[in-house]
Symmetry: D2
Subunit: 297 residues, 4 copies
Amino acid sequence: MPEKLTPGVWGVVATPFLGSALEVDEPSLVRLAEHYERIGTTGLTVLGVFGEAARLSVEERRTVLEAVVDAVGLPLVVGVTGLATAPVLDEARLVHEVVGDRLAGLMVQVNSPDPQVVAAHLNAVHDATGAGIVVQDYPDTSRVVIRTADLVRAVRAVPSAVAVKAEAPPTPAAIARLTAELDVPVFGGLGGLGLLDELAAGAAGAMTGFSRPEGLIACVQAWRSGGHDAARDAYLPYLPLANFEAQAGIGLALRKEAIRRRGLIMESGVRPPAARLPEALVPQLARHLAALPGEVR
Amino acid sequence: MPEKLTPGVWGVVATPFLGSALEVDEPSLVRLAEHYERIGTTGLTVLGVFGEAARLSVEERRTVLEAVVDAVGLPLVVGVTGLATAPVLDEARLVHEVVGDRLAGLMVQVNSPDPQVVAAHLNAVHDATGAGIVVQDYPDTSRVVIRTADLVRAVRAVPSAVAVKAEAPPTPAAIARLTAELDVPVFGGLGGLGLLDELAAGAAGAMTGFSRPEGLIACVQAWRSGGHDAARDAYLPYLPLANFEAQAGIGLALRKEAIRRRGLIMESGVRPPAARLPEALVPQLARHLAALPGEVR
Amino acid sequence: MPEKLTPGVWGVVATPFLGSALEVDEPSLVRLAEHYERIGTTGLTVLGVFGEAARLSVEERRTVLEAVVDAVGLPLVVGVTGLATAPVLDEARLVHEVVGDRLAGLMVQVNSPDPQVVAAHLNAVHDATGAGIVVQDYPDTSRVVIRTADLVRAVRAVPSAVAVKAEAPPTPAAIARLTAELDVPVFGGLGGLGLLDELAAGAAGAMTGFSRPEGLIACVQAWRSGGHDAARDAYLPYLPLANFEAQAGIGLALRKEAIRRRGLIMESGVRPPAARLPEALVPQLARHLAALPGEVR
Amino acid sequence: MPEKLTPGVWGVVATPFLGSALEVDEPSLVRLAEHYERIGTTGLTVLGVFGEAARLSVEERRTVLEAVVDAVGLPLVVGVTGLATAPVLDEARLVHEVVGDRLAGLMVQVNSPDPQVVAAHLNAVHDATGAGIVVQDYPDTSRVVIRTADLVRAVRAVPSAVAVKAEAPPTPAAIARLTAELDVPVFGGLGGLGLLDELAAGAAGAMTGFSRPEGLIACVQAWRSGGHDAARDAYLPYLPLANFEAQAGIGLALRKEAIRRRGLIMESGVRPPAARLPEALVPQLARHLAALPGEVR
């Protein structure tokens, strides 16, 4: 069976675009991935929701995967966007072809409230690909609402599960139950908004697209060495920005602009129909960034 | 500019599956398409929501398209499932390759409440493919809610629009406005549930997956020759079944079973995570079918 | 324990309003209630969602109850709008005061997905009032989604339950299970849209606000005497209107106008924020009414 | 015309309950209200969503209002729960009777996406009561989604509007527009989650039920004296708790327990069907409270 994911911070990589045609900007993507490696991220998650995977062509997905595989030596989780087995296998084949044994896990969404349906789907994906499965419970994207008890049932029936990504708010109580009843690591997401509470509930770390992953890393490291209060102190300077970036609908645009402003990507455009950056919020984004610890502004 | 869709009944073709692996059943698909042609359907819509397009692999989509193209000489509308331009263009390329000039329209979903975003998307799809665009407003699938006035604005800005498929209930008032303010034909869908009221509101016909398309055809033909009362009389025997099949969530399974029972397809399985046929409803389905006019049981 | 509701058709009474102030129109209300009695309705449901109870003052609710109690001798179900025990008891006290032993049941909404919470609530209402409880599962209004198995659990724990009103679509499968596992009568609602299928699933009848309750009565009577096919034949002439009136959001306005046009109420206004009658649909409403059997136009 | 609300922090008062019957606990309520006055709250908001108004009887609402009126000299905003004019007037009459000229504003929910419907409703409430209107845009409770431009239109047509409470996330961009286009103060709510960003967008302050209103006050005061950075520093120690308390569904239970733990109320029970305190989160709540500045633990 595939190895469980290493606890820590997995960065969900944005896909930078260039120009009015919003073409994939490989150099920016490489720079971004390298930055994640440099700061000590545990691994990278590519083609997630924050990576706008559902707005890329197949060739662009390949381009993104190749660029990240070449740029860094980190273990990779790769997301798939479909909810049914056949199209997910299409996506998985591409991932296997490009990422090979660099793949730490294929991130597949919970696709039904019925744990048997979920388990059959995830097992079919593993059987066809050999990949470890990161089980993503993200109703905001999937529109699937599963009860925590049923998610436990589903994951128990998937021996190849290497992690759960718990993104059905409120997450802390769910994570407390998932970590108590499962022997796979559970990661929080949602931009790091609830990271402290998720760690307290037993989370193995965060897997999310916060523009300042240094904050997530500082928080998780402080948690390990000093417990809750240390983690709180470490995360506090980042929390206002995490809140700001977590705004419904516009979060992606805000995060890309926040990444751009630190020089990692050239432009902050998002592909439609994602909401564009609200101009009225740019000054406040600038204030948030100016207030961050020096090295991560 | 592409020609507008011909008014009438466009059948949305189910994708039949076989066995526990639920593999695409081409002979059944061919038989189904031929049946549609035989009964006088205006055209066929392939790879729609009812065709479970979002649960097919790319190769299976190709198989479905090829089978239908070969089986019948009808004009074809082909659906795409993505909401963003790049993946829609992937889908559109396959359609173009297989369907060629048999394509009467590419059915693309409204992807934003903002008419400018919608129009830019649809125009980009046309520009890249030359295809006429069937604008599908189906919030139950797309999760996008657009106001009717904004849908009018969007469609007016898309010279290549060849039809609107109006599936945001309540549809009759929307269709009344769309037909008054647009010069493209507007079709109802939603299983034919509101066909009479949609015709009265100015609809050009129906484009939907009702298991007895003969009923839709009889209704539309009667409408043309005899007006409302004739259409009502013609449709009445079918309405209880249309209502039954329109049940949320389980409608697809009910329709496929209803099609199977007339011998057009071998099996009625649906791909997960779609809900399976509720056994408790099978006797009532049988009653509905037994009550239909003789030739369409 | 209170007696179970008598199977049959319970009419949900509209509250007619007069003038630009939309004041309660008692004479129309009396005429409407008398009509229901005259045509052989099993009982009346007052202050339901269709009665716009949530848009009436306490005094107006009293007025409505008094008028109906005085006008007819039918058994009455009275709806309450709150989801918590204390305000429901306020409403129940008024009902008890005005309706007394004419009360066949107090219709209380399912207020939680948790069957224990639901049962505690319903039992508290019964304990304080002695009333039989009609358990209404109507997520469109309550925003509460309960699984059918949990609804069974809840109702089993409420000895005073006299009926279930099943209005969580798709209703037929739910009603099949509820009637198999409970010994209380289960009624369909939702404007009679699914009446045939609900009867086939074991429903005891309909409790709804269809503008032509004669159709519901004809259907249920035919079901009893002649089974499914007779019921189908009896209901068929009414089904296009039932569908038309069931349109989301505008159904209330359509139904009141349909009632007005048969002379039972003076005006068809609905209280804001309910949607007003869409003018574009009035001609089609007229067509539907003209096509009805003579005596109920 | 009524005076606009004073900028600052308006505390939304919880309704404390006692025992298994969850009866209103007046002494705790008085203690809570006095605490708000002592710490320098600008005013109090009573019978809001956080006050569980929709789960109180009419007599209990009266009790709550009387207790607060007697306990403190602060100006009061009082919430109403209905969405239609007649029941809102019932509620408003009680408020007028008990609160009299202590009433700074009646908080009424946006009840329609149509600005004309909203304005007619709010004007009718003012005309009947003379009360200034606090316009609450809170779709999570009302289920009404209004576009910001239409909210502006509505408020402009209500001369008696004394404030807007903006609780439709993402709030900062909406507040920026509302404050730019309206001359009434706009308050944030939602537990203070976005207070910093709302102040930056022009908000006049906060009106919410955060368990440590001292944090809201410190933030607003710092904003006035020192601008964004001072407000950020002042609010930072409270932000982890604000996030924790803002969890969907369980926030009310968490807040009441957090208030109980500082000795202001006796018990932290919430009335069903509100979700109870998840035991698994109590240790983390304790950690959050232990980390607060000394005087507000």
